[in-house]
C-alpha cells in the first residue's frame, strides 16, 4: 500500500486508512503497473533449474499400443522423461470421484490428454522434445458431442432429478404451451497467465511448489498422493494468479503434479509453464449444455408448470461436473417462482477434455434455460418480456419457495427491478427502439432487462469453512495469512481491510502474505464467490482473539476494566490514557502475552439433502439486474452493445471499488461467453479454437462507453462479514441481458411476429442465420 490513491479512497480525519467500506485500490496495483508483481514464472531461476513440457495424445479415444520415447530422450538438453509407469503413488488426480490420470497409460480418452512429460535445460528444448514421441494407436469410436452421449446414454455420473409439484399435469392443463431447446456453448477461461507450477525439491524428499492455483490444499494433497508421501511433505504457496475464474480450481493440480514428479526424479527445481495453445487444449472449460424445456402458462404469462432437461458435456471424468450440474439445477428458477417444476440433469461423458468450474459454476447455463422460457412466453403473448419477468418474480412472503424448498427471503429483487426500470428509462427506450426500427431498414436495435438471483455457499456443505493466521510483531506490524487466494478479485485487500478495521490500525501496517499450506491447512478452494465471506470472518476471528488478549492485558496492566479499553485510529484508549497500538503490543509481549492466533469460520444455517433435493444449500442470495441495448446489422449479423445499466446488490460493501470491478468485469466476461467466444471441435474431436487468434474474448471496443453501474448497498440480512454480499460470480449473469437484447433485435426483423431461434454464443453468423430462419419460417406460414 505504498501508493496512496488520489482518487476514490477517502480518508476521513480520525479514521484509519483502509478500513472496511473504503474504496481502496487492489493491494498490488502499484506493483501491477510497474511490472514488479511476481507471478510464478517470474521467480528467478535457481542454478540448474529445469523446464518441463507435456506430450499429449493426438487421438480422442484409442488404445495406446506403442509409446516410443527414445527420440524424446535423444533431443538436445533433455534430462528426464516420465510416463505413468514412473509415478510412485497413485496415477489419479480426480478431485471428486472416479478416475482421471496424470498420464494416460493404455487408454487415451481425449485429444490432448497428457501421456508423458519431459524435463530439459530450456523451455524451448523441452517443448521441442515433447513433440518427438512415436505413438501407435488402435482407434476406438469417440463420443464428441452431447447428442452422441445422450444417444448412447454415456454419463460420467448418474442423472439427477429435482421435482416439486406436478409439472406434467400443470403443463397439460395450461391454456398455453411452448416447448423447445437451446444450445449453450462452453467457454475457455482465458486467464492471461497460463497454468504454471514451479516445484523445488527440499530435504527428506519433500517438495515446495509455487503454483498458480485457486486451491493450494488440493494441490498439496493430490501431489502427496501422486508422490506417495504424507501431506506434510508437500508445501504449496500462492502469492497471486494472473486470473483464475474457476480454471485454476482443479485444473492447476495436473501441472503441479507433473512438476513435482520431475523435480523428485531429477532432484532439481522444475518449472512447468504452459504455452497458451497447450493450456487451452489440455485444460477443462465451462460445460456446454443442451437444454430442453416445456412450459405451460396462462393468458397473462404466468408459468403454471415447467420441465427442464439439462444435458452437459462433462468430458472424460467427473472433475467438478457433479456440483456444476447441481448448480445449474439450483439456478433453473433464476428469479422466478416455479410452482410445478421438474428438472432432469444428465452429465454426459465425452471424449473431450474434462470440463470444470467456471465463474457461475453451472448457474449461468441454468439461468439461460428459464430466461429463454420467460422470453418465449412473452413473445408468444406479444408482451414486453419485462412484464412477464415481473409477473413470475419471487414474491415477498408468498410464492417465495424455490424448487428445492428453500425460502427466498430478502432478495431485493422487486426493488432492484423497479429501480432499474426507472433509472434506465426502460419504457421510454422501448418506444425509442421501436421507432428506430420502423425507420431503419438495415440496422435494428434491441433492448432487454434480465435479473439475477445467485445462491451463495458451496452446495457441498462441508466446504463452507475458512481459516486464518495472524501474527502481531512487537513493532505493531501485522502479518496476515488466510486460506483465500488472490486471482485479481481483491480478496487479499478486503481481508486486510477487515483486519485493519478490527485492530483499528492503518492498512499499511497489515502485511498481506502468500497463501501457504504450511500456515493455514486444509482450506477450501477460493471459489463459489465465498472467499471474503469465509476467510474474512476467519481473519476477523483471529484478530479478535489477539485483540481480546490485548484488552485483557491492558485492563490488568493499567488496572481498569476491559470495558474501558478500546481501539481507535492506530491507538488504544485505556481509561483516560491513550497509547499507540505498537506500544501496547510491546508491553503485552514483555508480559508474555501471545500475539499470534489462528481464526476459523464455518457458515451457519446451511444444510442440504441431495437425495430428497430439499434443504437450504445457500446462506443467502446475491441479486442484481441489467438492461442492455444492442444494435444488429441484418445483412451481416454483426452486433454491438450500445449501453448497459446495472443495479447490483453487494450488501454493505467492504470495498466498493473492488465490487464495482467485479461487476463490470463479470458482465463483460459473461458477454464474451454469450457473443464472441466460440469453442469449436472438429469431427475427430480436436479443439480448433485454442489460441486468441481463433478464440475471441471481448476487447475494449466491445464495451460501451455508456456503462452505468450502481451498487445497491443494502445491508445483508444474514450475519455475513460487515453485512456485505459476495460478488465474484453473480454479475457474470447480468450479461444475459445482452443475449436477450440481441434476440429482441432479431425479433424486430419480422415485426415481433415470432420468436427467433438463437443459440449461444450469438456470433454474427448465428444472428444472421437466426434472421434468415425467422424470415423463412415467416414466409412458410404465410
Amino acid at each position: 500500500m505504498q501508493q496512496p490513491s488520489l482518487a476514490e479512497s477517502t480518508v476521513s480525519p480520525g479514521r484509519i486508512r483502509g478500513g472496511v467500506h473504503d474504496a481502496l485500490p487492489q493491494d498490488s496495483a502499484h506493483k501491477h503497473v510497474s511490472g514488479e508483481a511476481v507471478y510464478v514464472d517470474d521467480i528467478p531461476a535457481a542454478e540448474g533449474q529445469l523446464y518441463a513440457a507435456i506430450g499429449v495424445s493426438d487421438n480422442p479415444h484409442a488404445r495406446l499400443t506403442r509409446l516410443d520415447l527414445q527420440p524424446v530422450e535423444d533431443m538436445d538438453g533433455v534430462v528426464a522423461v516420465l510416463t505413468a509407469n514412473d509415478i510412485p503413488g497413485v496415477n489419479n488426480i480426480t478431485p471428486t470421484v472416479g478416475s482421471e490420470p496424470v498420464f494416460a497409460r493404455e487408454l487415451v480418452e481425449y485429444a490432448g490428454q497428457p501421456i508423458f512429460a519431459v524435463a530439459a535445460k530450456s523451455v524451448e528444448q523441452a517443448r521441442r522434445a515433447a513433440r518427438k514421441a512415436i505413438t501407435h494407436y488402435d482407434d476406438l469410436d469417440p463420443i464428441i458431442t452431447v447428442d452422441q452421449a445422450l444417444e448412447k446414454q454415456c454419463y460420467v455420473l448418474p442423472s439427477h432429478t429435482m421435482k416439486r409439484g406436478d409439472s406434467k399435469t400443470a403443463i397439460a392443463s395450461a391454456p398455453h404451451k411452448i416447448s423447445g431447446n437451446l444450445r449453450i456453448g462452453g467457454q475457455d477461461h482465458f486467464y492471461l497467465e497460463g497454468q504454471v507450477a514451479l516445484a523445488i525439491p527440499q530435504e527428506d524428499g519433500d517438495v515446495l511448489i509455487h503454483s498458480s492455483t485457486q486451491h493450494p490444499s488440493e494441490v498439496q494433497h493430490t501431489v502427496a498422493k501422486v508422490l506417495s508421501c504424507p501431506n506434510n511433505a508437500v508445501t504449496v504457496e500462492v502469492r497471486r494468479m494472473g486470473g483464475g475464474f474457476g480454471g485454476k480450481e482443479t485444473q492447476a493440480t495436473l501441472f503441479a503434479c507433473i512438476a513435482a514428479l520431475l523435480a523428485r526424479e531429477t532432484r532439481m527445481p522444475v518449472n512447468l509453464c504452459m504455452d497458451r495453445d497447450d493450456d487451452m487444449i489440455i485444460t477443462g472449460k465451462r460445460h456446454d449444455f443442451l437444454t430442453e424445456y416445456e412450459v405451460g402458462f396462462d393468458d397473462d404469462g404466468r408459468i403454471l408448470g415447467v420441465d427442464f432437461s439439462l444435458a452437459s458435456r462433462c468430458g472424460i471424468s467427473a472433475d467438478l461436473s457433479g456440483p456444476v450440474n447441481d448448480r445449474a439445477m439450483f439456478h433453473s428458477d433464476n428469479a422466478y417462482y416455479l410452482e410445478n417444476v421438474t428438472i432432469n440433469s444428465h452429465r454426459c461423458k465425452t471424449n473431450t477434455v474434462s470440463n470444470t468450474a467456471f465463474r457461475g459454476f453451472g448457474g449461468p447455463q441454468g439461468m439461460m434455460g428459464i430466461e429463454t422460457v420467460v422470453d418465449e412466453i412473452a413473445r408468444r403473448l406479444n408482451k414486453d418480456p419485462l412484464d412477464v419477468r415481473k409477473l413470475n418474480l419471487y414474491g415477498v412472503d408468498e410464492r417465495d419457495v424455490t424448487p428445492y424448498e428453500m425460502r427466498v427471503e430478502d432478495t431485493n429483487l422487486s426493488t432492484i427491478i423497479r429501480d432499474l426500470e426507472q433509472t434506465s428509462s426502460y419504457r421510454e427506450r422501448r418506444k425509442a427502439v421501436a421507432e428506430f426500427n420502423a425507420n431503419s431498414p438495415l440496422l435494428k436495435r434491441g433492448l432487454a432487462l434480465t435479473p439475477v438471483k445467485f445462491g451463495i455457499s458451496f452446495t457441498l456443505t462441508h466446504l463452507n469453512q475458512g481459516g486464518a493466521l495472524i501474527h502481531v510483531y512487537t513493532d505493531g506490524s501485522v502479518h496476515l495469512n488466510h486460506g483465500g487466494t488472490e486471482m485479481g478479485q481483491g480478496v487479499m485487500t478486503k481481508v486486510a481491510q477487515i483486519v485493519a478495521e478490527e485492530f483499528q490500525i492503518d492498512i499499511d501496517h497489515v502485511k498481506i502474505t502468500s497463501t501457504n499450506t504450511g500456515k493455514v491447512p486444509n482450506t477450501s478452494a477460493t471459489a463459489a464467490s465465498a472467499s471474503t465471506d469465509l476467510n474474512g470472518k476467519a481473519a476477523e476471528n483471529a484478530a479478535r482473539t489477539i485483540k481480546n488478549r490485548l484488552i485483557d492485558f491492558a485492563a490488568q496492566h493499567f488496572e481498569t476494566s476491559a470495558g474501558e479499553v478500546s481501539f481507535r485510529n492506530n491507538e488504544v484508549v485505556v481509561g483516560k490514557q491513550t497509547l499507540p497500538f505498537a506500544k501496547l503490543v510491546k508491553l503485552a509481549h514483555q508480559a508474555r502475552i501471545s500475539l499470534s492466533s489462528t481464526g476459523f469460520y464455518s457458515t451457519p444455517k446451511i444444510h442440504y439433502d441431495r437425495e430428497a433435493t430439499r434443504g437450504r444449500p445457500f446462506y443467502y442470495f446475491a441479486c442484481g439486474a441489467a438492461v442492455s441495448e444492442v444494435v444488429i446489422d441484418t445483412l451481416t449479423g454483426e452486433h454491438k452493445l450500445l449501453r448497459v445499466d446495472i443495479l447490483h446488490d453487494v450488501g454493505k460493501s467492504i470495498n466498493p471499488a473492488i465490487d464495482r470491478g467485479q461487476i463490470e468485469g463479470g458482465f463483460v466476461q459473461g458477454m464474451g461467453w454469450l457473443t464472441t467466444e466460440e469453442l469449436c471441435w472438429d469431427e475427430s474431436g480436436h479443439l480448433t479454437t485454442h489460441a486468441p487468434s481463433t478464440y475471441k474474448i471481448p476487447v475494449c471496443s466491445d464495451v460501451p462507453e455508456d456503462f452505468r453501474v450502481s451498487l445497491l448497498e443494502a445491508a445483508n440480512k444474514e450475519d455475513v462479514i460487515y453485512r456485505s454480499k459476495a460478488v465474484g460470480e453473480p454479475p457474470l449473469m447480468l450479461s444475459l441481458s445482452v443475449f436477450f437484447a440481441l434476440k429482441d433485435a432479431i425479433a424486430s426483423t419480422n415485426g415481433h411476429e415470432r420468436s427467433p431461434r438463437l443459440d449461444v454464443p450469438a456470433t454474427p453468423e448465428r444472428v444472421l442465420m437466426s434472421i434468415q430462419e425467422l424470415s423463412h419460417r415467416h414466409s412458410d406460414k404465410i
Binding site: 477461461h189 492471461l192 438495415l442 485479481g488 444494435v631 463483460v668 486468441p692 481463433t694 454474427p764 453468423e765
Partner: protein
Amino acid sequence: MTTQIRFLLGDKLMVLKDVDPSMTVLNFLRCVVGRPGSKEGCAEGDCGACTVMLCELRGDDLQYRAVNSCILFLPVLDGKQLVTVEDVKSENGTLHPVQQAMVDSHGSQCGFCTPGFVMSLYTAYQTERSLTRNQVDDVLAGNLCRCTGYSPIATAAMRMYEYKEPSVKGNNVLEQLQDIRRNEVLELNWADRKYYAPASLTEFATLYAQYPNAHILAGGTDVGLWITKQHRDLDTIIYTGGVQELLAIDETSDQLVIGSAVTFSDAHPPISRLYPDFGELIRRFGSVPIRNSATIGGNIANASPIGDAIPPLMALGATLLLNRDGETREVLLDDFFVGYHATILEPGEFIQSIVIPILHKHRLGVYKISKRFDQDISAVCAAVSIDLEGDNVRDVKVCYGGMAEVPKHATECEQALRGKRWTRETVDLAARALQRDFAPISDMRASSEYRMLVAKNLLVKFFIETSAPKTTTRILEYAATFAG
C-alpha cells in the same frame, strides 16, 4: 559490414555479438536480462501482455511505437531503443501518470495483462495529447484483459493526461540513436544460423539472390509464430526492415507507391486519405502493435486466403513491382497468386513495392466480417470498386478474401454487373452469381453457408450505400454516434 547489434535497453547501450537471431525480445527480457515485467500470454501477438515500446530514428526525429515483444526477433532491435515496463517509473520511484492513473482508476485486477496495457498507453502518452474513448479503443485493441471489463482502463487512458507531466528521463536518446545508426549490412552467425540485415535495396537483392532459400523477415507477425508455435529452425534470415528503399512511400497524381517493408501503421494515413473504407479496414487490421510491425508486402507475399490488404488492392487494380537480383518486372496483383500460400515469385525474387492506382471516378467499398470487430481474422473480407456512368456500370471489380484458397475476383459476379444498369435486380443476379465463383470452406471462423450468404449481402450493402446513401448501414459508425 558489422557483426554486432547495438540498441538501447532503457537508457543503457547494449552491444551483442553472439545471439540466436530468432530469439524473441520477450525471451531476451525475461530470461537473459532479468526483466520479467513483460509477460507471455499467448506468444502469438494476440494478447498484448508482452507489449513494449520501440523508439527509433525517423530522419532526425524519434518515432515511438508499441510492439509485441513475443514475436519480435532480437536483432530487429538494432539501432533502436527498447523501453519496457521496468523503465516507466521515475528514478525516485514515483509512478508515471499512466501508472498512477491505472492505480487510481482501479485498472488492474489480476495484474498480468497490466504491464502490456501500461506500455500501450505509455506509447500513446508520448505521441498524443489526449485520447477520446474511440481512440482508446484503437490504442488498446491489441491488449486483452480478462478481469476488468476494460472500462476502468479506458478511464485511466483518458485521465492520464490530467496528471503532472514527469520529467524527461534518459535524455539524449536522439543523439545516442544517431550514434548507433547503421548504414551497412548487419551479419550475425550463431550455430548454423545466419541473419542479415541489409541497409540498401542493392544489398538486399544481392543477398537474396545469393541465399534464395533464406527466410525473408519483414514485420515478423507471422514468421514469429514459426518459432514460438512451430519450433522451426530458420537457418538463414534476411530482414527487410532496414532497407531504406523498401520503406519509402511515394504519391503522385495518379498512383501511390508503397515500399514492401512499409508497415500498416505507416501506410494507413495515405491510404485512408485516398480510400477511407480501405483506411477503416487497416484500422481494424490486427491491432496497433501488429500494425506497427506488420507490412503490406508481407501480407501479400504470405499469400494467405485471408490476407486483408489483398481484396481492396485487387479491387483497385494494384500492381506489384518484383525484383530479382536487381532485375525488375511489374505484375498485376491479380496474377500474383497461384494457390494456397503460393505465388509466382521465383527463387530470390521479392516484392519491391506495391503500386496503387488513384482512381478518381471509382467508388470503393470495403467490408470485413469477423466474430469480433477488433483484432480478428476475417471470415470474409469484401472489396468492391465501381465506376458508374449515370446508373450504368462502366467498370466494376468485386474481390473477396476468405472465400477461396487465395483472395480473388468474383469474375462471374463482375460479369453479371459490367455494362449493366446498377439496380437491385442486377445486384441480386450478380450476388447469385457468387455461387458460381466460390465454394467457401467451413472452419472455426465461419460456416460455408454463412460465408456465401454474407458475401452476397455485402454486395447488396454496397448497392444500398451507393443508391440510398442516407440509409444507415455501418454498425460501427452508428454505435459511435449513439447516445442512449
